[in-house]
């Protein structure tokens, strides 16, 4: 339900759109903020996990007796210690991923865990656990995993529309589009067929997963953890542990980055099982190696494109076949890849087919616009190559085919007002586009799309007796959202930003809130905050009407005060929020506003990225010289943090394009489980990242807000590939574009 079908036409913002200081700033610059690993409890034990050294193995026996006998060990758990409860398939997969059952499915898969009095005792105990494995053949690469004779991870997990005869690791098929591809291709002046590949990358949040679990003998349990969604943790862990949701209270710590990677659980059910068995609080903190081996990177991909274009740049047909491996369980983001691949374009003939594939790698988790960056890499590279072959301007080609209001997208929806064309026109007029380039330098552009989500949201807003305001919301603040909520509440109530404090509730203190994902928080929680503020305003107008002895309808809220309005209201001095709060006890009791909603109308988002690179022909090394992001944010609530989302997404994309990759040996063991060898961009790799915020109002939000967090990682892979291809004089179709790969491409032409 969209609360407001139309934008209010509100343009005279007083607080929204300013660059206020965030409320958690001082805590975070002084070291006071408490993240996942910063919590302790009296009598706390240290929990640690034993992980499979094999990529694929049957677990024939586990002997924990020696570990249990070690002094200081309070509990050892294996899969057998989890309750035998009925679970849906998705939750069963989460449990099996947190603690292996019959088989270890990837290097790093958890097989047992201990709780001990200290870190050193826990480490010793892990060495005393004897696991017998029967090693099985494994498969890592997506195209290998799809073969009919590939080692099968599971039996019976294929959904019905997977054609007979395909390998057991192909678990689902998706198809989107309209028109007739062959007819479209026949009208083209040039047709391109090309295959593109991307490697698995990790979200790379700097804070490893951490939690602290306590389980009382009465079955009441408490969990503190770093997560993007405390309610998701509650619901998943309660199901796995056989608890009712009201018995498990989950509190979200400050979160040290997530980017989608903290939208599921990895250690939380294990910590609860250890706490239950030991009767003591158990704290677990992952090492970086564990994070890389056993949490969720994104999928690797292999994508075939067929695309036709006329001499004047019209795309006559676009076809993509996308193959994504999402690790050891079904659920790679290929469906969203197939939906988003051609989303920026208005095409008569378009079709995408997506294949979800399992392989002996860690279970993938969401990573910022999951599934879209790889699809955009393929499509935007193909558009670039066709445009170059036909001697066309890359921005003009995109403008010619750009989706607009009323366009039927390849995934089925018809767009309302959208901002793609505005980002392209702004890019064309920007000085970056006309700046000169030197030798071995190239410029690339690419567009990107993301859906944005709304979802289940609850907000409570309390007017305190002294006339200040508390907003209570249920989504962990991953990049300044408490500031945004306080700003929207202040805007709506007409009070200064400093008088509003926003806090994040635990699961027992507020109703269900969906995970902080899909760029939903500023949109959906913002919308609920505005609605809660409006409810409080209605109540305050009612109280003023009571004091003045007039009808409620004769009172309006303007500039932070109730005012009489209309011919029969009479003359009364305005009552401010503080005036009304001070006498609330005498006019009916405390004043609060609430909003509970499953928000729709999130408003899709588009961006165009422009990047200049220089390629060293001697080494193949790529340097990013200049980077500009053009993105439609809807109304930018806090422009600093909108820019920050643009910049952060672009730089994660730079890492994905140039350096980052999961590297496996022949044995199926991950060879680079650390930040030394899994190399994310550092400050000296980069220039400043310029940003241009466009504000095309989202009709589904009272202030026109859209999500902004994810779109920014969609264009960079292709924009950089297009730039490097121009600089090197050779088309790059596989990521990462590491120096050896670029050098080889230059040498072989």
């Amino acid at each position: 339900m969209a609360l407001d079908a139309k934008v209010d036409g509100k343009l005279d913002f007083k607080v929204v759109g300013t660059r206020v200081n965030r409320p958690d700033g001082i805590d975070k610059v002084t070291g006071r903020a408490r993240f996942g690993a910063d919590m302790t409890a009296p009598g706390m034990l240290v929990g640690k996990v034993l992980r499979s050294p094999h990529a694929h193995a049957r677990i024939t026996s586990i002997d924990v007796s020696a570990a249990e006998a070690l002094e200081g060990v309070h509990a050892v758990v294996t899969r057998a210690d989890f309750p035998q409860v009925e679970l849906d398939e998705a939750t069963w997969d989460v449990l099996d991923n947190c603690m292996a059952g019959e088989k270890a499915l990837y290097d790093g898969h958890a097989v047992a865990a201990v709780a001990a009095s200290s870190e050193s005792v826990a480490k010793k105990a892990l060495k005393l656990i004897k696991v017998e494995y029967e090693a099985l053949p494994h498969v890592i690469a997506v195209d290998d995993a799809m073969k009919a004779d590939a080692p099968a991870l599971h039996e019976g997990r294929q959904v019905e529309n997977v054609p007979e005869g395909m390998g057991a690791n192909v678990v689902a098929r998706y198809e989107f589009g309209h028109g007739d591809i062959e007819a479209g291709l026949s009208k083209a002046d040039k047709v391109l067929e090309r295959t593109y590949k991307t490697e698995a990358t990790h979200q790379g949040y700097i804070e490893p997963h951490a939690c602290l679990a306590q389980v009382g003998s009465d079955g009441q349990a408490d969990l503190w953890c770093c997560t993007q969604g405390q309610y998701m943790v509650r619901d998943t862990c309660a199901a796995i542990m056989g608890l009712s949701q009201s018995r498990l209270k989950v509190t979200a710590s400050e979160i040290g980055g997530g980017f989608g990677g903290k939208t599921t659980v990895f250690i939380e059910p294990v910590a609860l099982a250890l706490a239950k068995k030991s009767g003591r609080p158990v704290k677990m903190v992952m090492s970086r190696s564990e994070v890389l081996r056993a949490t969720g990177p994104t999928a690797s991909s292999s994508i075939d494109i067929r695309m036709g274009m006329t001499k004047d740049g019209q795309i006559t047909a676009g076809f993509a076949e996308l193959r994504y491996q999402g690790g050891a369980y079904p659920g790679s983001p290929v469906e969203m890849g197939a939906m988003s691949a051609f989303a920026p374009y208005d095409l008569e003939n378009v079709k995408t087919v997506g294949w979800d594939v399992v392989a002996n790698r860690p279970k993938q988790a969401a990573y910022r616009a999951p599934g879209a960056p790889m699809a955009a890499f393929a499509v935007e590279s193909a558009i670039d190559e066709l445009g170059k072959a036909l001697d066309l301007d890359p921005l003009e080609v995109r403008l010619k085919n750009a989706a607009r209001e009323g366009t039927k997208a390849s995934y089925g929806v018809t767009y309302p007002a959208i901002g793609l064309e505005a980002t392209l026109r702004t890019a064309k007029d920007h000085p970056h586009w006309s700046a000169p380039l030197g030798e071995n330098q190239g410029r690339g552009v690419a567009c990107g799309f993301w859906f944005n989500f709304g979802g289940n949201t609850c907000v409570s807003l309390n007017i305190t007796p002294d006339g200040t305001v508390n907003v209570i919301e249920g989504n962990p603040d991953i990049g300044g959202s408490r500031a945004s909520m306080s700003m929207m509440a202040a805007e709506e109530l007409g009070v200064p930003y400093e008088r509003v404090r926003t806090v994040i509730a635990d699961t027992a203190s507020l109703g269900l809130n969906d995970v902080t994902d899909g760029s939903r928080v500023t949109f959906a929680v913002g919308l609920a905050t505005i609605e809660a503020a409006r409810a409080a305003k209605r109540e305050m107008c009612k109280r003023a009407a009571m004091v003045w002895g007039i009808d409620e309808e004769a009172v309006v809220w303007e500039d932070g005060a109730a005012r009489p309005s209309g011919p029969n209201a009479g003359k009364h001095d305005p009552m401010t929020l503080a005036d009304i709060a001070a006498i609330a006890s005498n006019t009916g009791g405390p004043i609060a506003g609430h909003s509970e909603v499953n928000a729709e109308g999130a408003g899709v988002s588009f961006a165009t990225h422009m990047v200049d690179t220089e390629v060293d022909p001697e080494s193949g090394a790529v340097k990013i010289l200049r980077y500009t992001v053009f993105q439609d944010a809807g109304k930018a609530v806090h422009p600093d943090y909108v820019e920050g989302q643009f910049q952060g997404g672009a730089v994660q994309g730079i890492g994905w394009a140039l350096n980052e990759a999961y590297i496996y040996g022949e044995d199926g063991v991950l060879q680079n489980p650390g930040f030394l060898d899994y190399r994310v961009p550092v400050a000296s790799d980069l220039p400043m990242i310029d940003t241009v915020i466009l504000e095309i109002p989202n009709p589904g939000h009272p202030y026109g807000v859209r999500g902004v967090g994810e779109t920014s990682i969609v264009p960079p892979l292709a924009a950089i590939a297009n730039s490097v291809s121009a600089a090197a004089g050779v088309r790059m179709t596989s990521l990462p574009m590491s120096p050896p790969k670029v050098l080889k491409a230059i040498q072989t032409g």
Partner: protein, 159 residues
């Protein structure tokens, strides 16, 4: 295991503690002294989230043993503000929105303070190379570098 007795100075205050022989300085700070401002992002010296200074030298506290702090002068993020007065770097980080999640922020602030003590007038490139050992995954470093340069300018003007 017998414990090692250590006498050291942390943020200007004399401090004694007992630690195991294989315990890192980061473990001691976080788990024995309750100073959780220094963060563990990797445990291998690659991310810089645990940055502290020891005798005015910038180190990763995850790569140094707690026992090695004997007789040294350790400075952590907890000692950066003077009472309620933030260090200019801390203030500029807030004003420039140089943090999103904030987990890398303590380490980057400690490293940036060390930079400005060694070089009060760094170029952007010098700041980027000095901070190359501190990973931030949220910001793309743009606003961090701007905040450091703004703090450097303010500190030069004040001195």
């Amino acid at each position: 295991m017998s414990m090692i007795h250590v006498t050291t100075t942390i943020n200007g205050v004399a401090q004694e503690y007992l630690c195991e022989a294989d315990e890192t300085l980061l473990d001691v700070l976080r788990d024995r002294l309750g100073m959780t401002g220094s963060k563990e992002g990797c445990g291998t010296g690659d991310c810089g989230a645990c940055s502290v200074t020891v005798d005015d030298r910038l180190v990763c506290s995850c790569l140094m043993l707690g026992a090695e702090a004997e007789g040294r002068k350790v400075e952590t993020i907890e000692g950066m503000a003077e009472g309620e007065t933030l260090h200019p770097l801390q203030r500029k980080f807030i004003e420039h929105a140089a943090l999103q999640c904030g987990i890398c922020t303590p380490g980057i602030l400690v490293a940036a303070k060390s930079l400005l003590e060694h070089n009060p007038n760094p170029t952007e490139e010098e700041a980027r190379y000095w901070l190359a050992g501190n990973l931030c995954r949220c910001t793309g470093y743009d606003k961090i570098i701007r905040a450091v340069m703004a703090a450097a300018e303010e500190m030069r003007e004040a001195s």
